[in-house]
């Protein structure tokens, strides 16, 4: 295999911030072009579809609110994932960790009998811990036994999904729900305030923003963040410097799982008010957050921007469903394409490709 003479590929040592930004934008554009082919195949002009998505997601107060509401769980999960990814722990399980947070929140809301003022704080704490626990299991399995993190975190999503299904069909099935597979409605003290006229549960949003900043400080200023980066960048050097791989792995997954758990609490107490089918609670936030974190180049602050971007895409997905009668799954296709091009573009960032015709 050799490159043709007119093509020159050379390593570039460190990609600049501008290169990273340009390449990321190009990846998104490439995904737009390829996804456009599918719109065309459905007989819909791709340009019109994109116009509708942007207008639907950003063109009205309602659309904007919907964008932000979608961005909230993406923000929390995404920030957590940047921490795990920094330590090169491939947490594909934010979806399951989010669901566990939702289960814990529902359990506290329905069965704890705590006084009203304590209810919401208890739900957030329980949700964080439940998500963290769900994350710690694969962390311990990897650090102690060397079991592949991608597989365990992914598989645990399914356990979480069926846990939710079992609860709503079985022990937690609501008495007031006329046979539907829901739990009972949460008491009103277990519900978060909304920005009037929207479905933005602002306390979760504020929590997400604060945690994004905190995660950034952790990574750049705090000792444990330094350890996380060393473990992720060069595990051998970490061992050499006496940094515990086990402790660091457990820490990142405690944070990553916990933050996804908080996202689950937000969806429960902000939107649904009851535990219901897993696909209704999450619609793949935990998976989309992987792309959110990756597009943010593992920088927690950048997640604020990228989660909003994917909020647009998800809110736009509602629009194409309603006004064009196209399946919502097209959005998953689009997300998949973005991730595909982003990972492909990693190569572009580390190599300089130049063409030379005629010379030589």
């Amino acid at each position: 295999m050799r490159a043709p003479k007119w093509l020159k590929i050379e390593r570039r040592p460190v990609p600049s911030g501008r290169t990273i930004f340009t390449v990321s934008i190009l990846a998104i554009l490439a995904a737009l072009v390829v996804a456009g082919i599918f719109f065309q195949a459905y007989g819909v002009s791709a340009i019109r579809a994109y116009q509708l998505i942007v207008k639907g997601a950003l063109g009205s107060k309602l659309g904007l609110a919907e964008t932000v509401r979608r961005a909230i769980p993406l923000l929390l999960c995404g920030v957590g994932l940047t921490i795990a990814f920094r330590a090169l722990f491939w947490n594909i399980g934010a979806e399951g960790q989010l669901l566990l947070g939702a289960v814990a929140a529902a359990g506290v809301a329905l069965f704890s009998g705590l006084p009203d003022v304590l209810l919401l704080p208890a739900m957030f704490i329980a949700g964080f811990l439940a998500g963290a626990l769900w994350g710690l299991i694969p962390a311990a399995l990897k650090a102690r036994l060397g079991i592949n993190d991608v597989i365990t975190t992914l598989m645990m999503n399914y356990i979480a999904i069926y846990l939710v299904e079992w609860l709503i069909h079985g022990p937690w099935k609501g008495t007031q729900m006329r046979g539907f597979a829901y739990t009972d409605k949460f008491p009103s003290a277990a519900m978060l305030p909304l920005i009037p006229g929207t479905r933005i549960h602002w306390p979760t949003l504020v929590l997400g923003l604060v945690l994004a900043v905190a995660a950034y400080i952790l990574i750049t200023r705090i000792r444990q963040g330094f350890e996380i980066r060393v473990v992720g960048e060069n595990p051998d050097a970490a061992r050499f410097a006496g940094i515990s791989h086990l402790k660091t792995t457990l820490l990142v997954m405690f944070i990553s799982g916990g933050l996804a758990g908080l996202a689950g609490v937000g969806e429960m107490a902000g939107i649904h008010g009851m535990l219901r089918s897993a696909t209704q609670i999450s619609m793949g936030y935990g998976y989309t957050a992987i792309i959110v974190a990756w597009l943010a180049r593992r920088n927690p602050l950048a997640v604020i921007v990228t989660s909003l971007l994917f909020g647009v895409i998800m809110a736009g997905g509602d629009v194409i469903k309603v006004s064009l009668g196209l399946p919502f799954q097209l959005i998953n296709l689009f997300n998949g394409l973005i991730l595909f091009f982003l990972i492909g573009s990693e190569l572009l960032m580390h190599y300089r490709i130049s063409f030379s015709f005629g010379r030589r």
Binding site: K5, R12, V230, D236
Partner: protein, 519 residues
């Protein structure tokens, strides 16, 4: 001297230019290689020797210049193309598949190896014939992982000869061999040349140039400095050409001021990564103010010894006592905190975090302690000040202390590792191959730094395969073979032959008996 005609030259490189981002690796190099000679390419690390040969071997395309083979211009677009022109290369780091047999490695990538079924009978015959002819004995059916380093190198040479190379490029072939294996290699190279092959020999060791070559070309910073017949030059002049200034060959070493016993190792046993016995009953002491060298061919337990002493590998038996305190199987962190520094053998794989800045790499060991840490927060101001001081004290050449460590040259990376490890004046320094792969300037500096630490009372365990270095630096020399201590001798008056024999597995007592018998 008669003028050479172009017909005498088998390879001619004309005006070769090769650029890498930010580096001009080859700057218009013109080199003529005569048929049937051993031609040494001498230069410091980063002088452009390997780059130039990779151009000739088709791994790199030159940005300018041309290559003439037997007077005709040719394009070498890949190593495969180089082989069709009968140019072969033995790389510094072998390109062998350990789990395959010798013969399978040899035919790998050739047409014989691409069919659905392998018919190795003919291959085996041919290999055995070549091996016989040039004294490259090795069993074609042995798996490569079972071979010693010297044998693996033989396989690499066989591989090139099997492909009918008549120009053989050897990239620092002696760096991993025992003195005896080096002699054997040189004998082989001689028979190859007598048989009409041409050998280009890359090295930075002056002794080897004098010993083996017919002509020598010196490169410095990407430029060709001179091409000389070896018989008309000597070591000091070559060294001057190589570094552009005089080099001190003798290190000024002050007399030994033995301090208290710092480290005591008793009956140490440990396993290798493969689970094989890597250390057997190793015992020795080190005192403050002395350098104890561990000599031996790589893979005889030195790496494992360094790891056990620094807490990176478990001892299965035996004791390690530092200043009267048992530290056997303590964690790397505890041992480092007790004042043990470690300059690791694989400095890039283990010693640094390539994507992190010089500043952060310099606090990799001490980030948990004041002044770099206050509570849970890191103090980047202090880390920066530390970096500035270290860069000045150790002459670390980097654009800034915020530059990623991976952008530094090998010598500067090692200076950075030393600066970090020697922070806070350690009591014991375990230095593994501290000058391996460094150029003359950096080597000299590293050695001076180690001697200074010795004079300040630190105990130094120096693991090195470079016997010249061992002889120059140590107070005592411990020789290891197959995980055992063959003997410990005083460096003063030690004979290099005797150490060579011990490296090959003879005990000190046997060696001494043998030499008295001769006398």
């Amino acid at each position: 001297m008669t003028l050479a005609t172009p017909a005498d030259y088998v390879v001619q490189l004309k005006g070769i230019v090769k650029r890498f981002p930010g580096v001009l690796a080859n700057d218009g190099i013109a080199l003529d290689i005569k048929r049937g000679e051993i031609h040494c390419l001498l230069g410091e690390n980063g002088a452009g020797k390997t780059t130039l040969m990779r151009v000739l071997y088709g791994l790199y395309q030159p940005d300018a210049g041309e290559i003439l083979l037997n007077g005709k211009p040719i394009q070498i677009s890949s190593p495969r193309a180089a082989l069709t022109h009968h140019i072969g290369m033995v790389h510094q780091h072998f390109r062998l598949v350990p789990t395959l047999s010798v013969e399978e490695n040899i035919i790998l990538g050739l047409d014989e190896g691409t069919g659905l079924f392998l018919n190795l009978r003919k291959t085996r015959k041919k290999i055995e014939k070549i091996a016989q002819e040039y004294g490259l004995q090795v069993d074609p059916q042995t798996k490569v992982w079972q071979l010693s380093v010297g044998q693996r190198q033989r396989v690499e040479i066989l591989k090139a000869l099997y492909r009918e190379a008549d120009i053989l490029i050897m990239d620092e072939p002696t760096s991993v061999l025992t003195p005896q294996e080096v002699d054997q290699l040189f004998a082989t190279l001689r028979t190859l040349v007598d048989d009409g092959l041409t050998i280009i020999f890359i090295t930075h060791k002056l002794d080897e140039v004098m010993q083996v070559s017919d002509r020598v070309t010196v490169l410095r910073q990407g430029k060709l400095v001179a091409t000389l017949p070896t018989s008309q030059t000597d070591k000091p002049s070559l060294a001057r050409l190589m570094v552009g200034r005089e080099v001190i060959f003798r290190l000024e070493k002050s007399p030994l001021q033995r301090g208290e016993k710092l480290l005591e190792v008793n009956g140490l046993h440990a396993l290798s990564d493969r689970g094989l016995q890597a250390l057997r009953n190793v015992s020795f002491d080190i005192y403050g103010g002395e350098i104890l060298s561990v000599a031996g061919v790589s893979g005889n337990g030195q790496a494992e010894l360094a790891e056990v002493l620094t807490g990176l590998r478990r001892a299965t038996k035996g004791r390690v006592i530092l200043l009267g305190k048992a530290i056997t199987n303590r964690s790397a962190r505890e041992i480092a905190d007790l004042g043990v520094a470690h300059v690791p053998a694989e400095r890039i794989k283990m010693g640094i975090v390539p994507n992190m800045s010089v500043r952060e790499n310099l606090i990799l060991k001490d980030y948990r302690h004041p002044p770099f840490s206050r509570g849970v927060f890191l103090n980047y101001k202090k880390a920066e000040a530390n970096a500035q001081r270290a860069m000045a004290d150790y002459q670390i050449a980097a654009p800034s202390d915020n530059t990623a460590a991976k952008l530094l040259s090998g010598g500067n990376i090692q200076r950075m590792v030393l600066a970090r490890e020697l922070l806070g004046n350690p009591r014991l320094i375990v230095a593994a191959h501290p000058t391996y792969g460094l150029d003359v300037g950096a080597t000299e500096q590293v050695r001076q730094v180690l001697l200074k630490q010795r004079d300040q009372g630190a105990a130094i365990l120096l693991i090195s395969e470079d016997l010249e270095e061992v002889m120059a630096l140590s107070d005592r020399i411990l020789v290891m073979f197959s995980g055992e201590v063959m003997g410990i001798v005083d460096a003063e008056g030690a004979k290099i032959d005797e150490i060579g024999l011990m490296m090959a597995g003879e005990r000190k007592e046997e060696v001494e008996v043998a030499s008295t018998e001769v006398a």
